[in-house]
Amino acid sequence: MELFQIISPVCYVVLAPLLGILLAGSDRVITARMQRRKGPPVLQPYYDVRKLMSKERSTVNGVQEFYVLCSLIFMVVTGIMFFAGGNLLLVVFTLTLSAVLLLVAAFSSNSPYAHIGAERELYLIMAYEPMVLFTAIGLYVFSGSFDVYDIATGGTMPILYLLGIFAGLVFILTMKLRKSPFDLGSSHHAHQELVKGTTTEFSGRTLAMVEVMHWYENIFLLGLVALFFFDGTLLGYALGTALCILVYVFEVLIDNSFARMKWQTALKSAWLVALVLGVGNIAVLFAFGG
């Protein structure tokens, strides 16, 4: 175990909320500019969370806040394992656990809006999960190891062999980042009833924890995108960092130029992408790589 593997997860725990705030804030500013508006300050997500913390404490039941807290903890654990260079499969599983715990929190209330939101989120998990798994499998077939550390220091950029898987990951990133056309379960923009379904019954401190969870999640997801460009050299790290930001801006553009689609479309298209780009790419690797 190298020093890097200790420093990097510590940096993640400390810096991810800060970077997450800037990311979410600039997302809102860029979105506003794309709509010819001025937009809020870049630190707006931070103000929102601080305000939510100062609101009256009240939840619909005793367990909801606990589930959301667990979701946040597992999200942080996901990031820690990823940035410590740990096993990619474990990372994928804890990521899913975090998403499922948020669903359970939404299901724990009796609100029909929360239930519909949680069900739609469930469809999204069904839609993106195969592609997330193919990403891990693809990186394994490419490097011969599930360890993020081995993949990142392998000496060759995974993107050169995993272009299809990368495109598939960017596709399902729209769902993970809660952006149109696939923001069915809960959108990060101001929306009404159904589109905000999952978070309907969260308020005050609980909602603040959901926001913080998204900051951690977004930074982890960008890390996963950047991993495709890491080859152990400084150039690879710089390229990865630059391109994951570019991918995020691309997602904002998609968010602003598409209408919301039905869950059937989300499911069909995501599985088609996973099958064609994910399985196709792995098959090509096996056929030519040996």
Binding site: R37, K38, P40, K51, K55, E56, A190, H191, Q192
Partner: protein, 149 residues
């Protein structure tokens, strides 16, 4: 300035009115006025909202709805009555079903005049409401420190 006044989320409810004020409230969201630059989010969820924006008057049917939305909002919260109907019932005042202004059922903090209220006036009203919101937040904080009575 505290974080509460930097991130006021508002919920909008239309009572019985001609929808004139309603449209002016939505106009505040357009690029021309863009209330999001103040951190304001137009939410549909009372549990997320800090400001309750009501247009139109109260009638026998929507009184329980207004009470419920108000009850679901967490402290600190502010109620803004937009337009003359929300203030007093306006031209509908004498209708058999109309009870009058919003203050007949819930306490109102700011009254925005106009028929229809202009977007500038609505934004001005919200900014006035922020001062009251800040005072209420201090009250909530104080009562939290003192503990339950």
């Amino acid at each position: 300035m505290s974080f509460t006044t930097r991130s006021p989320w508002l919920i909008h409810y239309d009572g019985s009115s001609c929808n004139g004020c309603d449209i002016e409230v939505l106009a505040c969201l357009t690029p021309m006025y863009d209330i999001e630059r103040f951190g304001i989010i137009h939410t549909g969820n009372p549990k997320h909202a800090d400001i309750f924006l009501v247009t139109g008057s109260v009638n026998e049917q929507n009184a329980p709805v207004i009470k419920q939305i108000y009850g679901e909002m967490l402290e600190p919260k502010v109620v803004i009555a937009v337009g003359i109907c929300a203030a007093s019932g306006g031209v509908f005042r004498r209708c058999y079903n109309v009870m009058g202004g919003i203050d007949k059922v819930i306490p109102v903090d700011v009254y925005v005049p106009g028929c229809a209220a202009r977007p500038e006036a609505i934004i001005d009203g919200v900014v006035k409401g922020l001062e009251i919101l800040e005072r209420k937040r201090e009250d909530v904080e104080r009562s939290r420190k003192e503990g339950p009575k």
